[in-house]
């Protein structure tokens, strides 16, 4: 039907005016400053019957949630997040009780007032967690505990021994442009702003005049050096991976020959009989510069509607048997020292170096880059700068 009698111009103006009014209303509504720091619990009471979690894929699975539900009466609803950024975003919605946050999310959650301190005395299994996971900068802020360690992993250097000879002992095989050129289009790098820290770890060892202390606390000069290194690496990268399956397929299909990986992919490919290798025991299982890694922490929301269930969950997930189950399912080192006696694969903890503090000493766990450098100075690049730089590295 054609409308000939009305004034289309007037109608259009009305619509525009309405939209503008709506926009102004919205802009007016939202004033910031709603960061409430929740209080920590003093006593775990009766469960509220429900529990909403955000987790990495594989952390909340029925073999250990079913018995948890039976024991506590807390029904578990889990939302799987793909990246740390997504976790932060979801936690800000305030609809979840807890999250399995990696170190590159935890400081953001604490700063944003999205998570509450955790009273570790209410989590009996906390006592036997590996001591080198406690009081770390990504789970303890100003001496206050903000979570229960869940498990950890390191980013290994993996290569195909048929193509990459001699066996590399350093990250320079993929970060030194002269050496990387040899594997042009066959290099596999991690697709996340936090990968800039890998370049910083490399520079820390190779350019001491930059004086890099912590690869997550970089001032302008140090940061630019790391970013430029990755820009030089960019033309040689075959693929940036974010999903583990994508990298597994790329190594199996011959698209990638050398790259940074998680222990999970390495053991998976090895198990499939693919030709892959990683740093041997004689080199401490890591390239000589050390490596980045991650350590995950269960944190409780400052707006948790089911805090009692969340405390029950934090204790449950680090109980020896469950923590062993999760670690084997996911492919990471368990946080619970007693879990090593419970794993199905007898040498699992040894394989993942769970009880080997010397290994983890050389691992720089992911942290959220913030402006405060830790040395009292305020001139470090924050996470937003890292994201912008990452966008420009990828081009």
């Amino acid at each position: 039907m054609r409308n000939q009698d009305t004034h289309p111009a007037r109608t259009a103006w009305l619509v525009v005016a309405g939209l503008l009014a709506f926009m102004l209303l919205l802009a007016g509504c939202g004033s910031s400053g709603n960061s409430t720091t929740g209080k920590e619990l003093t006593k775990v009471g009766k469960g509220e019957g429900q529990l909403s979690l955000i987790s990495w894929a594989g952390y909340v699975e029925s073999p250990w949630t079913k018995p948890f539900e039976q024991k506590t009466g807390c029904k578990v609803n889990d939302k799987v997040a793909g990246t740390s950024d997504e976790m932060v975003q979801l936690m800000r919605s305030g609809q979840y009780d807890g999250v399995s946050a990696s170190g590159n999310a935890s400081a953001r959650l604490v700063d944003g007032g999205n998570v509450a301190p955790v009273n570790v005395s209410l989590v009996p299994n906390y006592k036997t967690i590996f001591p080198d996971l406690k009081n770390q900068p990504y789970n303890t802020f100003n001496g206050v505990h903000y979570g229960i360690p869940h498990g950890r992993g390191a980013n290994l250097l993996m290569w195909n021994p048929n193509d990459v000879k001699p066996a590399p002992t350093s990250w320079d095989v993929m970060l030194n442009p002269k050496l990387a050129a040899k594997y042009k289009g066959k290099i596999s790098a991690y697709d996340d702003p936090i990968y800039i820290a890998d370049a910083a770890v490399y520079l820390k060892a190779h350019q001491p005049n930059l004086k890099i202390e912590n690869p997550y606390e970089l001032n302008e000069t140090q940061f630019n050096a790391a970013v430029n290194l990755l820009k030089e690496q960019r033309p040689y990268v075959g693929e940036y991976w974010s999903e583990a399956t994508k990298q597994v397929a790329a190594f199996a299909g011959g698209d990638d020959q050398v790259g940074t990986t998680w222990q999970y992919q390495y053991f998976l490919l090895k198990g499939e009989g693919q030709k892959v290798a990683a740093s041997p025991a004689s080199q401490g299982f890591l390239p000589k510069e050390g490596a980045t890694g991650w350590s995950d922490t269960w944190m409780i929301s400052s707006k948790a509607k089911h805090p009692n269930c969340m405390y029950e969950w934090m204790n449950w997930i680090v109980s020896p048997k469950v923590n062993a189950e999760v670690a084997e399912f996911f492919g990471e080192a368990p946080a619970q020292s007693l879990a090593c006696e419970q794993t199905k694969e007898k040498n699992f903890c040894a394989k993942y170096h769970a009880d080997n503090p010397a290994f983890w000493k050389r691992v720089y766990y992911w942290e959220t880059p913030v402006s405060e450098c830790g040395n009292g100075q305020n001139n470090c690049k924050n996470y937003n700068d890292w994201v912008q730089a990452w966008t420009s590295i990828k081009g």
């Binding site: 944003g112 397929a249 299909g253 996470y383 937003n384 994201v387």
Partner: protein, 284 residues
């Protein structure tokens, strides 16, 4: 109650129409234009650099970033270029198929071809992109087939994105052109031939002008779909497209993501204005 209601509406045609349309129009305004308005407003907000919490003060900072940072210009340029290439490729591929379907094929053949064009739409988008990923990989079927000729497939990259997108959106180009050609009376083609026009002249002077609005309609689909896609670039290349840049920013800098999301909208408006100038909407 229902009687009273019926009585109330009786003889009030405007109210009747109003009540009938309130639902859909309300949905359109609140759910559709409303969310667009929110997007627009969010583009003027900023993010507190320390906590990453959104600050609700109006500023033009995000647009400044988009203009000042060369990487965003590259991303927009790359996305628009690939979208244009995909549109062109699909138009060239779709026209003969649509013409055969509309004017040459038998009834049975026509039905079969429509099904053949629609068939890929019945399978999942991800399955299709992953199949292309497998085919394009170093040990994939494309390299295998080209090896005897001493050639190499494109591998992963912008060429791969162009190939996969052209494949994905082809049906969206074929169907509108088919519908457009179907509406051209055969008598016009016969008349042109009777008047001594060569097949090429008939195509150029009769068929193409009449089918042009349909091509533009199809191109709006292929162009807009390519502008908005971010999964294909992620799976078959390392390149960033507008969608990837939005995805990267959405969680920690939502205002910048909103500003980026306005770019495809602006590009599409410009595209539609040009299409109107070309007379694409005159026969609708």
């Amino acid at each position: 109650m229902s009687r009273r209601l019926a009585g109330f509406f009786y003889g009030r045609p405007r109210l009747q129409v109003g009540a009938l349309l309130a639902g859909p129009v309300g949905w359109l305004v609140v759910g559709y234009l409303g969310s667009l308005a929110v997007l627009l407003v969010a583009a003027f907000w900023t993010v507190d650099p320390l906590s990453g919490v959104v600050v609700h003060n109006l500023s033009l900072e995000n647009f400044k970033t988009l203009i000042d940072e060369p990487v965003y210009r590259d991303i927009v340029g790359r996305t628009v270029l690939i979208a244009a290439l995909v549109t062109l490729t699909d138009a060239v591929l779709a026209f003969p198929i649509a013409f055969y379907m509309a004017k040459v094929a038998s009834r049975r053949g026509k039905a079969l071809l429509v099904v053949a064009v629609l068939l890929p739409l019945w399978s999942s988008y991800l399955v299709k992109v992953y199949s292309w990923r497998t085919m394009l990989s170093a040990g994939g079927v494309i390299n295998w087939a080209l090896a005897p000729l001493g050639l190499h497939g494109p591998g992963f990259g912008n060429t791969a994105v162009w190939l996969v997108m052209s494949y994905l959106w082809l049906p969206y180009m074929v169907l509108p052109i088919y519908a457009g050609l179907e509406r051209i009376p055969n008598s016009l083609i016969s008349a042109s031939e009777d008047l001594g026009a060569s097949p090429f002249t008939t195509f150029r002077r009769v068929i193409l002008p009449l089918a042009f609005p349909a091509v533009v309609a199809g191109s709006i689909f292929t162009f807009a779909l390519t502008l908005g896609d971010y999964i294909t670039p992620r799976l078959v290349s390392n390149s960033q497209f507008i969608g990837n840049a939005i995805f990267n920013n959405i969680t920690n800098n939502q205002p910048l993501a909103s500003a980026l999301a306005l770019v495809p909208i602006v590009v599409m408006i410009a595209y539609l204005l040009v299409a109107r100038k070309l007379g694409a909407f005159e026969h609708i």
